[in-house]
């Protein structure tokens, strides 16, 4: 199927691109790749601004614009994310919203697809449902401290190196690129980032064993695949969450199981 949009007279300075985009009306129907052309795309545009241009044109033609998730457009909310030429968030290690068109050249053909993983069902076109991640957090990705019960902040010093390492893991934005990049569709990097963040803080120790067994059990229940330490996840992660977090999760999991911790049913 071919659908041409854009101003044919334009394009003197900008790039002309051919996009092949996954179109799927809703979860109940089969989707397909549809080809579009966009013209006069500035290299300073973000990838999503390029999609905005396409969508404005589609609306004017009375066609259904391409649905895609996005919100902050500054690389921190984790709402955006598509496969670009088979790579999660595209050719650079960043979020889709922070990918700029200077990463492409005139005449490029770009394939744009949603995250592909059964625990992330497609809602429409490029938008998927990632609530499985929230349920993994619900299983134990927190420290149980009701408001008002906290001791004075300086009561517990935290070694700077632990706090810094915890911060590095805590920068995970929950975008799902790790799952999309993984051949097994494993959510291990996401889960490991939270297990590492909280496990490195003294405040996280009392629940450390239960946390890891319950979060791992939940990701299995959601249908995410097993981790085979391939490393595509970390490579695709816009925040550079390290594979070391997965080692740490495995270490914690083994220790917790040995100590008798079992997931809540």
């Amino acid at each position: 199927m071919q659908s041409s949009v854009g101003d044919p007279g334009a394009g003197k300075r900008g790039m002309n691109l051919t996009l092949r985009i996954w179109r799927q009306k809703d979860p109940t129907v089969k989707g397909k790749m549809v080809t579009y052309k966009v013209t006069d795309i500035s290299p300073d545009m973000s990838f999503l601004e390029m999609l905005d241009v396409l969508n404005e044109q589609l609306i004017m033609q009375g066609e259904d614009p391409v649905a895609f998730d996005h919100d902050c457009r500054e690389g921190i909310c984790g709402m955006c994310g598509v496969m670009i030429n088979g790579e999660a968030h595209g050719p650079q290690q960043t979020t889709t919203c922070q990918l700029h068109m200077r990463s492409f050249k005139d005449g490029d053909k770009i394939d744009i697809e949603p995250w592909r993983a059964s625990p992330f069902p497609v809602i429409k076109d490029l938008a998927v449902d990632r609530r499985a991640f929230d349920r993994i957090i619900q299983a134990g990705g927190y420290i149980s401290v009701a408001t008002g019960t906290a001791p004075e902040a300086h009561a517990t010093p935290v070694p700077k190196k632990d706090s810094d390492a915890a911060f590095d893991a805590a920068t995970c934005i929950g975008c799902g690129a790790c799952v999309a990049a993984c051949p097994n569709a494993s959510s291990m990097l996401f889960t490991a980032a939270k297990v590492t963040h909280l496990g490195l803080m003294p405040q996280g120790q009392p629940e450390r064993d239960d946390r890891v067994v319950n979060m791992v059990a939940q990701q299995d229940r959601e249908g995410f695949g097993g981790c085979t330490n391939i490393g595509e996840c970390s490579h695709a992660c816009p925040k550079g969450i390290s594979m070391e977090t997965i080692s740490r999760l495995n270490h914690d999991l083994l220790g917790a199981l040995r100590a008798g911790a079992r997931p809540k049913s």
Partner: protein, 648 residues
């Protein structure tokens, strides 16, 4: 002021703060006097919380912990997306860990002064008191704040203060604080105390017998429009900066919840108070969809300058020191680059208006780290600001370690919002408003690192303590879809949605949004005048007229339709824009972020008119065609004496 733009109503006042005790005792006295709800009764009561940012997320979690039945709503896929996540620099608290003379009173004083004496003393004092508990709470949740080698918390300074009271987590403080609140919220969802409504947008408030009793919301995936009932409704839906189209807000940030509540009777206060943040990445082209902030914390080490000569377009590294104008250091030697945001923004505008701006279109100034890199070494600068530098490089394609950043002011925050009393209750009983969505704490200008403080203060500590006084009279009579107020609200929302789809004109929602935003930036932006505002007020009704006759929205409302979502939000922004301009026009003084060209000192600083304008302007909506009604809340300063702000 001609009468046709608005009419004068009865004065309004806060009656909840106990005025009979000194300010330092009012918050504890208020908590003591307020009635409580016993734990067995809490289970019988439902509270709706709309929004899951720092204010809404923390409030929903805390109310859930307390034992209420909470229904939480957010328009994104996950509560972790709320735009608090993007706050970079930090959160203020009067811990005085630096031993540099900080105290609750000083934070209170700085905030009232920074707000240019247009905030309510009682609320600000409470905010300063509560600030210390916030840090304790967040540390206990595992928030990985920056620490020193001894393991204790680090601090930095922010604009408008001379102490270091800002706690931070590299350049991602908002993210880390939000995840703390998000995780607390998810814990309550797992415990069954909070019902989750993802990708659901509030489109109306249901008011029964004068009380807020529920909302009408649209499930953005299925398109279904339905009613949700409760004993109280809490709005935590953020600010309305996207009325300017380009802002540092998220693309989805919108004013629909507060605007529709306003149309149901909630007063909207000081809508013209908009914060223009001085350090954002300049606009590049017409396709620009949003603006990105570079944290104000950069002004701790970065030096702001422009060439002394206009039109000097040399490479900045080739401009010798004596041909540069470090204008903030020159004009404000005491505060230098750390003057409050409104002042830094306006001075950037002034130098650009003089033709000394840099970069494309001359709309930019340099923020230079060469001196800091030489003084501290590149690794230290990287450790402090690395992620911000990376972000800048990603967006502009330039390396800020070797070339000075170019920055320009952009809309960032709105100090105005729904009017609330000391209990954070709006003028509609049973509807509470927290975080950026209310107007209460920042006056005419918010200081850096105070938004996170206010959001969490409201959500963790203030609202959960004050809402009990209202709920002590509950649970209220059960209502359902058959109630006439519910039927009316549901049908009016459905009718509006259908109307948007029926127009079938020739312009997209985004094109109207861009036009409105440009108009507001030009005529009601960093500087406003009688003339510019009158022009805006002539033009906005025309935009509204064209919107409702020439809009094009594809698809239907029974499915996932992002164009329709956007159209509804733009419709509300257009109406809000008009009220903002009326408010800006009626306030014939300059204060904080509201700079009226007619009201300035000989040096070009904002000139307040305390005799005539030391009040909160609380606006009441009236049916279309009738002018809004102005209710004035008089501001009295018992503890901080009114003075011309000086940062020199």
């Amino acid at each position: 002021m001609p009468l046709e733009l608005f009419t004068a109503g009865e004065p309004i006042a806060d009656t909840k703060a106990p005025a009979d005790v000194p300010i330092g005792e009012r918050w504890s006295e208020r908590r003591f006097r307020g009635r409580l709800v016993n734990p067995a009764n809490r289970r019988k009561m439902t509270v709706i919380v709309v929004g899951t940012g720092l204010a809404g997320g923390s409030a929903a979690a805390t109310l859930g912990e307390a034992g209420y039945k909470v229904k939480s709503f957010w328009y994104q896929d996950s509560p972790r997306r709320a735009h608090s996540v993007a706050a970079q620099g930090g959160i203020n608290a009067a811990k005085n860990y630096r031993n540099d003379g900080d105290s609750v009173h000083r934070l209170f004083y700085d905030t009232v002064k920074g707000g240019d004496f247009r905030s309510r003393e009682n609320n600000v004092h409470r905010l300063a008191e509560v600030s210390v508990s916030i840090i304790d709470q967040c540390v206990a949740q595992g928030v990985p704040f920056a620490r020193e080698y001894g393991g204790l918390l680090d601090n930095r300074s922010f604009g408008g203060t001379q102490v270091s009271r800002t706690f931070y987590a590299r350049g991602q403080t908002g993210q880390q604080l939000l995840y703390g609140a998000y995780q607390a919220l998810e814990r309550q969802i797992a415990a069954g105390s909070v019902e989750q409504n993802a990708r659901t947008e509030m489109l109306d408030l249901i008011v029964v017998d004068g009380r807020a009793r529920g909302i009408v919301a649209r499930d953005l995936v299925s398109g279904e429009i339905s009613t949700h009932f409760a004993d109280a409704v809490v709005l935590a839906t953020g600010g309305y900066g996207n009325v300017f189209y380009l802002s540092t807000n998220a693309k989805g940030s919108n004013a629909t919840a507060i605007w529709r509540a306003h149309k149901k009777g909630a007063y909207l206060a000081n809508p013209c108070y908009t914060q223009i943040h001085p350090t954002c990445i300049p606009v590049k082209g017409d396709y620009q969809s949003k603006l990105t902030l570079m944290s104000e914390s950069l002004r701790n080490d970065g030096r702001v300058w422009v060439p002394k000569e206009r039109g000097d377009d040399r490479n900045p590294r080739e401009i010798p020191e004596d041909q540069r104008d470090y204008y903030l250091e020159r004009i404000y030697p005491a505060f230098g680059n750390l003057v409050p945001r409104d002042i830094a923004s306006r001075q950037a505008k002034n130098v650009c208006d003089e033709g000394r701006g840099v970069g494309p279109g001359g709309l930019g100034v340099y923020l230079d780290f060469a001196e800091a890199i030489e003084r501290l070494g590149r690794p230290a600068v990287e450790a402090k600001y690395g992620n911000l530098f990376d972000m800048y490089a990603q967006i502009t394609g330039e390396d800020p370690y070797s070339v000075p950043m170019r920055i320009y002011p952009a809309v960032h925050y709105t100090m105005g919002g729904l009017w609330v009393d000391y209990d954070l209750q709006s003028s509609i009983p049973g509807m509470f408003v927290i975080g950026e969505a209310n107007f209460s704490d920042h006056g005419a200008n918010r200081l850096g690192a105070s938004a996170l403080m206010q959001g969490l203060a409201d959500g963790y500590f203030v609202l959960p303590a004050t809402i009990t006084e209202y709920l002590a009279d509950g649970p209220f009579e059960k209502i359902d879809d058959s109630h006439p107020a519910a039927v009316e609200a549901l049908q009016s929302v459905q009718a509006q949605v259908q109307k948007l789809l029926n127009i079938n004109g020739t312009r997209t929602p985004a094109s109207f949004h861009r036009e409105l935003g440009q108009l507001m930036w030009d005529l009601c932006g960093m500087e406003r005048s009688e003339e510019s505002l009158r022009k805006a007020l002539d033009r906005i009704p025309e935009i509204r007229q064209e919107f409702w006759t020439n809009l094009k929205v594809t698809g239907d409302w029974h499915s996932f339709n992002q164009t329709l979502e956007h159209a509804g939000r733009v419709a509300d922004f257009i109406e809000l824009a008009e009220l903002m301009c009326i408010d800006a026009l009626h306030r014939r003084e300059s204060c904080g972020g509201h700079f009226r060209a007619e009201s300035q000192t000989p040096e070009g600083e904002a000139l307040r008119d305390d005799e005539n304008f030391a009040y909160v302007a609380a606006w009441e909506w009236t049916p279309e065609g009738q002018p809004p009604v102005l209710h004035k809340e008089n501001l009295e300063y018992e503890y901080v004496h009114l003075a011309q702000r000086s940062y020199k």
